[in-house]
Amino acid sequence: MGKLMIVNGSPRAPKSNSKLYIQAFLSGWSGAYELYSLTQRRQEDCLASLEQCSDLLLVFPLYTDGLPSGLMAFLQALLAQPPSHPLRVHMAINCGFLEPSQNDVAVDMIRLFCKRGGHSFGACLRISCGEAFPTTPFMAIARRKLRKLASAIAKGRPVQLTASMPLTKRMFLRAAQRYWLGRGRSFGVSEEEMSTLEIEGP
């Protein structure tokens, strides 16, 4: 295969979980690659570089059950200015909730993009508990799956992988509660304040 373009589709790319997942992916990747974050706002450069790439890996969070709007804009631009050859498109999506299947519709949105652009859909990793994964020892599980994704892409195998924390629903709810309370506390915001029912004040 030729060069791999890795696109970080998180709107908070420099501080994103996607960035950590890309780092883990790269620990298993030995081929040539380029890395581009949508927050760099150099979309034209990325579209031009795709001319030299055979494969595209999209790494991004699930946003309101679909693709982040910035990634949708990028894909729209790629449909309008396609490279002169079809790409093999791979993805590693991560969502906050417990069930990896919550990512399924977004995966099919990428499939639809491939069909529209005449690209082929390659390997796919669905990560759940994506917000908290990197803060726990379970990250080893995600790291292993990301290296597996790297090896599948290198071998041209269109695998379907999932990575989730081995937690029951009840354990997940408790862990999520602890996680978010800690995040609030770091801003001096209490559980009661976080639980407000008010939206934009009374």
Binding site: L75, Q102, A176, G184, V189, E200
Partner: protein
């Protein structure tokens, strides 16, 4: 309360005086930056002070919502999708089980009847995908009572929106 969100003008629509119509594509709505400030720093308020903070409380309050939107890759096109993302303050950080799946706890969000007039789908695959997307998203927005009307043209979208509003009035 009724609310209409649209990404195109609907000049032929005749509405009762008090029904707000928001032309979403003309509002200044930046994409969500994923800071979670609306959950952990200023709960219930987005830190980006553009036009979105005037709209998501109205989405929360309404009990009948009509959305008119073009589709892009089986989802709302960008203007409406950005607004959906920026409505995150309507939820809390905390997670509960809903239909056996993990979903966020809602703030003061009225369960609503949602009608979507969707136009611009390129094929049946895109319509099916949009149906699946809305089905999932409705679980996170208390809009499980929803109807989708697909329009083949913008003119037909306007016509369908007119029908929905006439049914509201009667």
């Amino acid at each position: 309360m009724d609310l209409i969100l649209t990404d195109r003008h609907l000049p032929s629509l005749s509405l009762p005086d008090n029904t707000p119509v928001i032309h979403v594509a003309e509002q200044k709505i930046a994409p969500c930056v994923g800071c979670f400030g609306c959950w952990i720093k200023t709960p219930g308020r987005c830190v980006i002070r553009d036009d979105a903070p005037a709209i998501y409380p109205a989405i929360a309050r309404c009990d009948r919502l009509l959305v008119v939107s073009r589709l892009l890759l089986g989802c709302y096109d960008l203007p409406m999708k950005r607004l959906v993302e920026r409505s995150l303050p309507n939820q809390q950080a905390f997670i509960r089980l809903h239909h056996g799946e993990s979903h966020h706890v809602q703030r003061a969000v009225q369960p609503k009847q949602l009608t979507v007039v969707a136009y611009g789908a390129q094929d049946q695959e895109e319509r099916d995908l949009f149906r699946r997307w809305l089905g999932r998203n409705s679980l996170n927005t208390l809009a499980e009572d929803y109807t989708i009307l697909f329009a083949d043209s913008e003119a037909q979208a306007e016509e369908l929106a007119g029908k929905v509003v006439r049914a509201w009035v009667n």
